[in-house]
């Protein structure tokens, strides 16, 4: 009988993840044992302390480069930066989740997610002024999954992290207080398709194990390096793993869920997942491809080339026709995934830092944009139809100006972060000889610019009418998020060099 030796675990190195994990568990206990009246306060404090604490520990740990947990967890430069990005973006989204001043009914979440939409129960809960606080528990688990996702160094940990991240998200999507049927429909679609893509991932992991005899990413790399025979099996396995990841980032042709989920989910959740899931999934994707599959780079490069071009073109073209701003942002997110893939395909140190910069800056803009959207309201809740934004810039110039900055950034106009990140990935692509891919990306950017600019035109140049929404006055929570994201967007656009240096120094994924 084999003796089992427990793997060595460097607890200091994984401390940020542990902090969030402990907070998530405490959050479950809070829901179970504390009275309803104090739950919200406790949950918010717990969330904020754990996210900030994890970030502080991360900064202290900034020089740690190690593989621990029996080879299952890799803490390297990119992982640290990605974890930092996830924590910051989560924190900013948490402010939105905590917001209570915008909606006359309270927060953005159904008082009891289990009550049937339109039922007597639901009205009862609403009338009693109940608020649900489970959202915080789910939120913390999702963050935990994301953190684990970007450090996972073997396929099994990666799969577990993927599920820990995804399952709470499916639930959170379905919890909107208003338009509950839309929200639940979105959640179901997301869950069914997500489960399907997870199945692809685990099947792919099985095939890869069949080839390499290991689930550890470095060992897969070694097996590929030493093989002289047929690699078809591992190429298929790798492709299936990619399907699971590309689904999460909403790349074409795995994008079908995106518009419904973006539109149906409560806006704070759209902000949270729109920003952070991309960071986590692209982080994991790069580790998977660069660490395990660098031996078959030719095979995945061609797949990602096609997916990237499809995402950019399809996303941009369909976004042009959207009249709902959240759906438009969803298609924009699809197109942005395509732009990010340009940097992933480059597969170079400058490509890695460009992609991470893209994820950070894009995440900030996404959170900021959705924070602005959550403030634009009429009597039925959020006014997401573009026609209701007519003349909004004249009614409230500050909000209009902030939204305009975000739109210009998404369009990639200089002096905003959007230009810098697009330029970074394009430059990385060019340096690796992907000239045509970059040309396609520039063309797609020009198309995309039109629908972003259209929002500005609608806000400032259409006269306000009786349908024009009004802007709700937010509490300090949303204000912080908007102020922080818009400042970051401008600063990263005008003086990006410190961030570029930080990411360049973070180096590459270790094996």
């Amino acid at each position: 009988m084999n003796t089992f030796t427990a793997p060595e675990i460097d607890y200091v190195a994984i401390a940020p993840i542990l902090i969030v994990a402990i907070a998530a568990l405490l959050s479950v206990l809070t829901e179970t044992f504390l009275p309803r009246s104090v739950r919200r306060t406790v949950q918010i404090i717990l969330t904020f302390i754990s996210l900030i604490g994890a970030f502080v520990v991360l900064v202290i740990n900034r020089d740690i480069r190690t593989i621990t947990g029996g080879g299952a967890v890799a803490i390297d430069g990119p992982a640290l930066v990605l974890m930092g990005a996830i924590l910051v973006l989560s924190l900013l989204s948490a402010f939105l989740i905590a917001e209570r001043s915008l909606d006359s009914l309270g927060d953005s979440f159904a008082p009891s997610a289990a009550a049937l939409p339109g039922s007597v129960d639901e009205r009862e809960y609403s009338a009693r002024g109940y608020f649900q606080t489970e959202i915080w528990t789910l939120f913390l688990f999702a963050v935990l999954g994301m953190l684990a996702f970007v450090v996972s160094n073997d396929l099994l940990i990666m799969f577990v992290a993927l599920e820990v991240m995804s399952l709470p998200l499916y639930l959170m999507v379905g919890m909107a207080r208003r338009r509950r049927l839309l929200s639940q429909e979105a959640a179901l679609k997301y869950f069914v398709l997500g489960a399907f893509s997870s199945a692809f991932f685990i099947f792919g992991a099985g095939l890869v194990y069949g080839f390499a005899g290991s689930i550890s990413l470095p060992e897969i790399h070694d097996a590929l390096a030493s093989t002289t025979g047929e690699t078809l099996l591992i190429v298929i396995g790798m492709a299936m793993l990619l399907v699971g990841l590309l689904f999460k980032v909403g790349a074409v042709p795995f994008h079908q869920w995106t518009p419904d989920v973006y539109q149906g989910a409560p806006t704070p959740i759209t902000a949270f997942m729109g920003a952070t899931v991309k960071v986590a999934a692209f982080g994991a994707m790069m580790r998977l491809l660069y660490v395990a599959f660098s031996g078959i780079q030719w095979d995945w490069e061609i797949i990602l080339w096609v997916v990237s071009i499809l995402s950019m073109i399809v996303g941009s073209l369909i976004a042009l026709t959207q009249s709902d701003i959240k759906r438009m942002l969803a298609y924009s997110a699809i197109a942005q995934s395509g732009f990010i893939l340009v940097g992933v395909v480059a597969a170079s140190p400058s490509g890695i830092s460009a992609v991470i910069f893209y994820l950070i800056a894009y995440g900030l803009v996404t959170v900021g944009t959705l924070a602005v959207i959550s403030m634009v309201r009429d009597s039925t809740g959020e006014a997401t139809h573009l026609s209701k934004w007519a003349g909004l810039g004249k009614k409230s110039p500050m909000l209009g100006a902030v939204m305009a900055i975000f739109m210009l950034s998404l369009a990639g106009i200089p002096l905003t972060s959007g230009f810098v990140i697009k330029f970074s990935v394009f430059a990385a692509g060019i340096a690796e000889g992907d000239t045509w891919l970059v040309i396609m990306a520039v063309v797609a950017s020009i198309i995309a610019a039109f629908f972003y600019v259209r929002v500005i035109v609608v806000m400032f140049f259409s006269p306000p009418n009786e349908n024009t929404a009004s802007v709700a006055v937010p509490s300090i929570f949303t204000t912080i998020t908007v102020a922080a994201t818009v400042t970051a967007t401008m600063v990263l656009g005008i003086i990006p060099q410190p961030m570029i240096d930080l990411l360049t120094n973070a180096g590459i994924f270790i094996r």
Binding site: V420, F423, F426, I446, V457, I495, Q497, I500
Partner: protein
Amino acid sequence: MNTYPWLTTIALLPLVGSVIVALSPKHNEKLAKSVALVFSVVTLGAVISMALNFEANSQEVFQFAESYTWIPAFGINFSLGVDGIALVLIALAATLVPVVILGGWNEALDSQGSVKGYFALILVLESLMIGVFAATDVFLFYVFFEAMLIPVYFMIGRYGGPQRSYAAVKFLIYSLVGGLFMLAAVIGLYVVSAQITGTGTFDFTALVGLDIDPDIQKLLFLGFFFAFAIKAPLWPFHTWLPDAAGQAQPGTSVLLIGVLDKVGTFGMIRYCLEIFPAASTFYAPVVIAIALIGIFYGGFVALKQTDMRRLFAYSSMSHFGFIALGIFVFTSVGQSGSVIYMVAHGLSTAGLFIAAGYLMSRRGGSAQLSSFGGVNKVAPVLAGFFLIAALSSLALPGMISFIGEFMVLLGAFQQYMWVGAIATLGIVLTAAYVLRVYQKSMTGPLNPECEGMKDLNGREITALVPIAALILVLGVFPAPLLNVINPAVDRLMTTVGVTDPEVTYPILSVPASSEGGSE
């Protein structure tokens, strides 16, 4: 070699002024205007002292060069520097701003926006205009090029006439679309430089030396040219201009047409020609054709206009045709002529629009030709200045625009005789519409509604005197301008790799540098 950062100083002065104007007390409009005037005059003084230090025959491509790292990762620097062409245009901008402030003293009074806001925007715009002419980094140029839209948008959209929103939006959208194509070309240029040298750069001097594949040149050229042709504007990208000029305050129009639109033609001569020489010669016939169409189209449409401001806008479009023609005939006379023409057009446009503004302020804001008639009987001084500007616009000998137009046509004749011959006919058209304006508004029987119209006061005269003086003095003695422009054009011709054609028919010797003594 002096090391004082002249250009940064000159670009920052108006910006500082605009902040002070914007922060000035709300109800003391006179103070805000005076501060704006003082800052613009000080800036002009700084530009003049810089110009006195300019060495016309220096070996350096750019003088007063400054460079600070901005985003080293992308090879982007904050680099400024001027050659003769840029210097002349900066001087034009610095001259027109105080004139506009003085001439448009009462312009913003009954507008939606605040008075001090208008003058703060003028100063912001001056800062950006100086930046755009002085930038020697392509990315920096692009940033200034696009940033200029913001003050102009507000100047039209907040302080203009009844249709101001429409005009401002049209202006913005046209410019943004052009800017997007240029942005794509700017990125493309970086890509090409990265492929050739290994490290990408936006430095103008480095880019000029690159041997770019002609096919790629043609694509990138189009990206830049499209933006410049909208900005200038050339036919058929011009439709925003009459609307903008027809709605904007006269002062805004002076800066818009007199200086801002020159960025388009300046961009063609600096960026299109030097960075993409092969593409420029390839597309030259097309551009020349567009320019010729513009000369006549603008002229004919101007003949039919009833609103002075729209008329001047169409006439400008015709003049931009001449400027583009001079640039793309690839002779040194033609190109020097184009630069002179830019200055001349800036001055005569300023004279015309400011005089029109005076007329409008006396007739309740109407710029219709039918609102006037016989004005020279009641306001002879106003009519006199108007006449000088108008005659300058039709290029009467003795005025600076004559030099420019003559050189452009001469250059055209040297290269393609028929192009020169056709363009010359445009002069007749110009004379027709300019004289028509003067005849309808100033001469003839006095329009009863103009009875008792006051003549110009001291402030109004002070604003127009420098314009009239420059038009006449430089018209008789253009040597100071030509001395700084000619070396820049010669260098440009060398970079593009073209030489003046052998002239096979007798012409007078070029009235260029041969005449002018040293400064």
